[in-house]
Amino acid sequence: MSARGKAPGRAPERAPGRALEGDGIGVDEAAVIARVRAGEAEAYAELVRAFTGMALRAAAALGAGADAEDVVQQSFFKAYCALGRFRDGSAFKPWLLSIVANETRNTVRSAARRRSVTVREAALTEPEPLIPESANPAVAALDRERRAALLSALDRLGEHHRLVVTYRYLLDMDEEETAQALGWPRGTVKSRLSRALRKLERLLPEGSAEREGGEGRG
């Protein structure tokens, strides 16, 4: 009786129009990977569907800017080709993320970096039709300013620090996943993270969120 039209997939977790909801929750990764390896290539759609939001966020956070979709497409493709080498029992997400990160790095050459920062900032200031209507516009504007400041501060961090903050917080991964995705020992993740946070704080125009915001221009 459900009028699920011709939603092409059978995935019950499908949420039209929603980004990232789930991050793969609801997908039995191991089972899907086994099916793909057994030759059922179209089963890969489930993984793509489940992780697209996360991958796009990662590409955007790592500076892919307008290329994010292409980067993600390419990453999924590469992950597919490499699936034969995927280690059973490990998590798909950090693995995919490391591919996304590589791909982003390949796509966004250093020359393009500054541009990508602007693109990211523009993306943040772009009106977002779904959510902001409900928010107090003054508060929203302040948030945007603060976010732009955060982004540019992030950008001034060294590579390692920027990566660890991005993975751990922007992509909301736990320490274990971060360690896997970056290929670092957990201890390294921990120490770099705390140093990165301290640095970041110093780079920000003011201490923390509850500011009036007069100087968000960084």
Partner: protein
């Protein structure tokens, strides 16, 4: 799990950073990406390398192509559709209870309070003759006999190099009656799945039609001034009748009475007959769903081309 004491140096920074991450998200259901990735896999004949009998590979490639075709069919209508009728709960995103496609129109609905509609906008821009519209759009506009000669005719470029023809009439009360026409496939075997609002109506002649009695949100494509990319635009739409005639999808707005709207639709068929059923849709390779950017590799999804050429 997180260890808060480790996060001490940042104070509230971690939360802010998480919010920043969320702010980078864009609405994306994943379907577009699925389409792109599967197309690339199929195009490059890539298969996960695992020792196995050859025919298993061949079988798998075949299945993939079949899945892709089905998906194309679905996406050609939904993602690349010219118009999407939305009745999403404003202002906060609510669970969209369901969705379906109708001749290139994506419909999602849920029981939310409808927006207020001030009636459809008229034909903006210079009006052209019907013959000129036919030439420009590459399709012959259907003119419902019940409405007579239109007061305005415009042709709008749409993604995938398609065209949208709009006919406008001034209604008695000073309002506008607007008829949008565009080519789009209609997915067969789909009609029985829907119930409730909107309502299926029968125009005779086998062509299904949908009546949206309540005002709703209408989302459609516009090209930004620089011509660089398309973006979705939203406006409130009043009661609307949606139907197909051959390979055209028609969308009538500004006629608030269902009966009258059906009369108009019926009078649009050839020689005053009911509109023809679309039958099996023609799914051309124009159904890619991505934006105007071309895909990275040889996974040539035709979509990008149309979008890029479109003026």
């Amino acid at each position: 799990m997180a260890e808060p004491e480790r996060e001490r140096p940042g104070g509230e920074l971690p939360d802010e950073l998480r919010a920043l991450g969320r702010a980078l998200d864009r609405p994306e259901s994943g379907e577009t990406m699925v389409e792109r990735v599967l197309a690339q896999i199929a195009a490059e004949g890539a298969l996960v390398r695992r020792p196995g009998p050859r025919d298993r590979l061949r079988e798998s490639a075949r299945r993939l192509r079949r899945a892709l075709r089905a998906r194309r069919r679905a996406l050609a209508a939904s993602v690349c559709g010219l118009l999407a009728v939305l009745a999403l709960t404003p202002p906060v995103r609510a669970a969209v209870v369901d969705w379906f496609d109708f001749g290139g129109v994506e419909v999602r609905y849920d029981p939310s309070p409808p927006p207020r509609s001030g009636g459809p906008p008229g034909c903006s821009g210079p009006s052209v003759s019907l013959a000129r519209a036919a030439r420009d759009a590459g399709l012959r506009p259907v003119v419902p006999r019940a409405l007579g000669a239109p007061d305005g005719v415009t042709v709008t470029r749409a993604p995938r190099d398609r065209s949208l023809i709009t006919l406008c009439w001034r209604a008695e009360g000073g309002g506008t009656v607007r008829l949008d026409e565009f080519p789009a496939p209609l997915d067969p075997g789909f009609s029985k799945l829907i119930k409730g609002d909107p309502e299926w109506v029968d125009l005779g002649g086998g062509a299904p039609a949908l009546w949206f009695a309540r005002p709703h949100r209408l989302e459609f494509w516009l090209r930004e001034a620089s011509g660089e990319r398309w973006f979705r635009t939203v406006r409130a739409a009043g009661p609307t009748l949606l139907w197909t005639d051959g390979r055209l999808t028609l969308r009538l707005e500004g006629v608030p009475s269902k009966r009258r709207a059906m009369e108009v639709a019926k009078s649009a068929g050839p020689d005053g007959n009911a509109p023809r059923s679309a039958g099996v849709p023609e799914v051309k390779c124009d159904g890619g769903a991505e934006g105007p950017r071309p895909p990275v590799t040889g996974g040539r999804t035709c979509a990008s081309e149309g979008a890029r050429r479109g003026d």
